[in-house]
């Protein structure tokens, strides 16, 4: 088919992987693909977050809405989220959002009986489902390279003597588009891989001093100088932020064209940082799944079949030839 000719097979190469951090290369695709992935990671990968709070007793300094808002923002381990149901289309509870298929219940009951200020933290939240707990609690129990003494949990509110907080909270599945608390990503960004070509001939016409000042003009360490041959070379191409400082400097020195920098149209370097709700690597995998589901929805929708008559070939391409 016609579509197959332009079909490409994007490649991913992982550079660095930690629980909450992932750096990878995405090659042989274009900006639309890379950006779709970024947007889905930010706004459409589902997680679990506290959505409904029933307050029984609250004699703290913060009001009910304040505490509810803070509770909502606590990231919960959401490995289950992909298989969970949205409570709005849950059959088991008629969209009530209270059943085990679409919600997780939390309880919190703290009272301060001492003279010192007492912190109410995410560790005080009692979950009914051991797989859905605040991320810092999960990290503490796994205890892999994690310093528990340093981390006191996410503070919800502080209590003085006699103050009390008792509540029931229901966590539900959701996506970042509905509310930022459901966004699993702290940072998702990418950059185009730069291609840097130094005009050696022109470069040699510079004195060592000029070379140094030219190198220094870049705020990031992109270029370096060989101590023996005094040759300027690219130390770290990816440190270049496309700020064009070096190009402007070259022009100011009267040497335009000293360096040529181009962005490769088809390779991207992604940086993904997770809130801890899902692992950074799982976040990318989930994002690809969500993206696939969205494409399936387009492919299978009745609109596409109708549009087939109008657009002919385009429709058949979308359905995979």
């Amino acid at each position: 088919m016609e579509g197959a000719k332009n079909q490409r097979f994007p490649k991913i190469k992982i550079r660095e992987m930690k629980d909450d951090y992932l750096k990878f290369e995405l090659r042989e695709t274009d900006a639309s693909m890379a950006n779709a992935l970024r947007r889905v990671m930010l706004a459409e990968v589902p997680t679990i977050a506290i959505d409904l709070v029933e307050i029984e007793v609250n004699s703290t300094v913060l009001n009910d809405e304040f505490i509810s808002h803070r509770l909502g923002l606590i990231p919960l381990t959401s490995d289950r989220a992909m298989d969970m149901r949205f409570s709005r289309d849950c059959d088991a509870c008629d969209g009530d959002g209270q059943c085990e298929y679409c919600s997780v219940e939390f309880h919190l009951s703290v009272r301060c009986d001492q003279d010192q200020t007492q912190d109410v933290t995410s560790a005080d939240l009692q979950s009914t489902d051991p797989t859905v707990v605040p991320v810092d609690v999960a990290a503490r129990s796994s205890s892999s390279g994690y310093d528990a003494s340093e981390n006191r949990g996410i503070i919800i509110v502080k209590l003085r003597r006699g103050q009390e907080l008792r509540l029931r909270a229901i966590a539900r599945k959701g996506i970042g588009k509905d509310h930022a608390k459901w966004s699993p990503a702290a940072t998702v960004t990418f950059m185009y891989e730069p291609e840097i070509r130094i005009n050696e001939e022109l470069m040699e016409s510079l004195s060592l001093e000029e070379k140094n000042s030219w190198i220094e003009s870049s705020p990031t360490k992109v270029f370096g100088i060989d101590p023996n041959t005094h040759q300027v070379m690219v130390v770290d191409a990816e440190a270049y932020t496309y700020d064009e400082e070096v190009i402007k400097k070259a022009e100011a020195m009267g040497k335009p064209g000293l360096v040529e920098i181009e962005a490769k149209e088809d390779s991207f370097i992604f940086t993904v940082e997770s809130t801890g709700a899902v692992k950074a690597s799982q976040l990318v995998i989930n994002a690809i799944d969500v993206l696939k589901q969205k494409l399936d929805a387009v492919r299978l929708s009745d609109d596409t079949v109708e549009a087939d008559d109008q657009f002919g070939e385009l429709g058949s391409h979308m359905r995979g030839g």
């Binding site: 809405e65 966004s183 932020t241």
Partner: protein, 522 residues
């Protein structure tokens, strides 16, 4: 101060002082000085002295900030936030200290603050938050001083505020009543009773709502009734609602008991809310945009606010750009943190600090379009700027009605928002419709939908004929328009007239002036 080195000078005293700007003027010049300013920026006073780079701003903009916006910005009550009962108060959820410092702001802090020698408290003198601000055009949603805000930032708690309104009611104290022996007056007391004027569902038996009750417009806040059964309850106006924060019972100096019920409302910024930087650059939200649609830098930084570049050339506030550039350097660990007016760091210092932090010297960065993922052609200036939320909010100003209360005298719609009034369609607006030639629309707006009324005219003598009761020859009585000048009801016609015009005729008539109306059928 005990040694007499520092003197506190009053406003009247100041007139007779010859004050030097700084120590160097004190000794170098011929003039004889009586005093010397501790720092040149002290001559500006508090609210102006905490503006960073004021000396780079146009004087009018500095005045805007120090006189107007600093008053309207929402911060946090420093004294007794839990027990105070102001009629209306606003509190910011998460107030912040700005990144920069000035000599004046340092003088207000306590040096022995536990966080260390160089960290100063007193964030309460600042009423705002540090927002990442990009100077860019955002799809036309930030034209004319409007700004685009990041919805994700707001959902994470940025610029979230609570608004507390207090309702007070007094009752006469029992003892006082006895001494005064006012028997004629009914004894009024708090209490719950079924009311005709509003819902009492959330009230307890004592007449006060329970803490946490959600009151809507039209509900009764404080139930108050007389022994005779007369209702004196206080009702919420149609624009007011909220949850009950606290109920206070107390007595004032004259011994009258009073109760105060405060209602709380939590608001996140919405389209139409007003914000301002510290440089008199005010604007309202034009769009709340999702995080993924904003341009992002290679580090993944997304702005909280996008303002329009057109805000700068005519306003002459380069101070804001300097603040953002300096703030960016500070946020990246730069050590140069002062932005005191008159002793501000030079441009070179700021740009060098940014360069060391790994940013381009002038604070602009390459950004990628959030919609398409492509690099934007131009570099975008982006940096942390201190922004204030001002008390002018869209929710307090929305005005709408189709039909509603009218003024009893003119029968025209009322103007008051609290009474569900309308927006005035004034002369300028009338001129506008005239210019468009939209006569039918104008007629509808100013007559049919305003003070439509009808009256009777005698077609023969052109006088107004009133509706009267008269006896007819047959012996019966009929009620109807009748011309007393012609002594007949034959030629009487009905015309459509604005009530205002009818009122004028009646008033003239009462002064003995009769107005004649020419009529023709249409």
């Amino acid at each position: 101060m005990n040694e007499g080195v520092i003197e506190l000078v009053g406003i009247e005293e100041e007139e007779d002082c010859q004050t030097a700007w700084g120590v160097k003027y004190l000794f170098s010049e011929e003039k004889v000085y009586t005093h010397c300013e501790l720092d040149p920026s002290f001559l500006l006073g508090l609210s102006c002295g905490i503006i960073p780079f004021t000396n780079h701003d146009h004087a009018r903009r500095a005045l805007y900030q120090s006189e107007k916006h600093s008053q309207q910005a929402i911060g946090f009550s420093t004294t007794n936030p839990k027990i105070r009962v102001d009629t209306l108060s606003h509190q910011l959820y998460y107030p912040q200290r700005p990144l920069f410092r000035t000599v004046i702001s340092d003088c207000l802090g306590k040096p022995e603050y536990p966080l260390g020698k160089n960290v100063h408290p007193m964030s309460e003198i600042y009423n705002g938050q540090n927002a990442i601000v990009a100077v860019n055009v955002h799809q036309g949603y930030n034209q004319e001083d409007s700004l685009v805000m990041n919805r994700a930032s707001l959902e994470r708690g940025m610029f979230r505020t609570e608004h507390i309104r207090c309702y007070k009611a007094e009752v006469e104290n029992k003892e006082i009543l006895e001494t005064k022996r006012m028997k004629s007056k009914d004894k009024i007391d708090f209490g719950k009773m079924p009311s005709k004027i509003g819902r009492v569902d959330s009230l307890d038996d004592d007449g006060f709502p329970f803490i946490g009750a959600n009151l809507q417009s039209g509900d009764i806040v404080i139930g108050k009734c007389a022994e005779s059964g007369a209702d004196h309850s206080i009702k919420l106006k149609h624009t007011e609602r909220g949850k009950v924060q606290k109920v206070i019972l107390s007595a004032n100096d004259e011994g009258t008991n009073f109760a105060a019920v405060s209602l709380r409302q939590v608001r996140s910024p919405i389209v139409g809310d007003k914000f301002s930087s510290m440089h008199g650059q005010k604007g309202v939200i034009g769009l709340l945009e999702s995080q993924e649609n904003f341009p992002f830098t290679h580090q993944g930084i997304v702005p909280d606010i996008v303002i329009n570049p057109h805000a700068f050339p005519t306003r002459q506030t380069p101070g804001q750009l300097l603040e953002a550039a300096l703030g960016k350097g500070i946020a990246c660990g730069g050590l140069m943190r002062y932005a005191t007016p008159f002793t501000t760091p030079s441009i070179d210092h700021i740009t060098d600090q940014l360069h060391r932090a790994g940013y381009s010297r002038w604070g602009h960065e390459r950004v990628y379009s959030g919609h398409y993922g492509e690099m934007m052609r131009s570099l975008i200036f982006i940096g942390p700027t201190f922004y204030q939320r001002l008390i002018h909010m869209a929710e307090d100003k929305v005005k709408f009605r189709n039909t509603g209360p009218v003024h009893p005298l003119t029968r025209q719609p009322v103007a008051d928002r609290k009474r569900f009034g309308g927006v005035k369609f004034g002369e300028m607006e009338r001129d506008c419709l005239l210019a468009h030639g939209a006569a039918a629309n104008l007629h509808e707006r100013l007559f049919t939908l305003s003070d439509f009324s009808q009256m009777h005219i005698c077609g023969k003598c052109s006088h107004i004929s009133n509706v009267i009761q008269r006896s007819v020859a047959g012996g019966g009585k009929i009620r109807g328009p009748f011309c007393r000048f012609c002594d007949s009801a034959e030629h009487v016609v009905k015309v459509n007239v604005p009530y205002g015009a009818k009122l004028l005729c009646q008033e003239l008539f009462s002064m003995g002036i009769s107005v004649k109306f020419g009529t023709e059928p249409c």
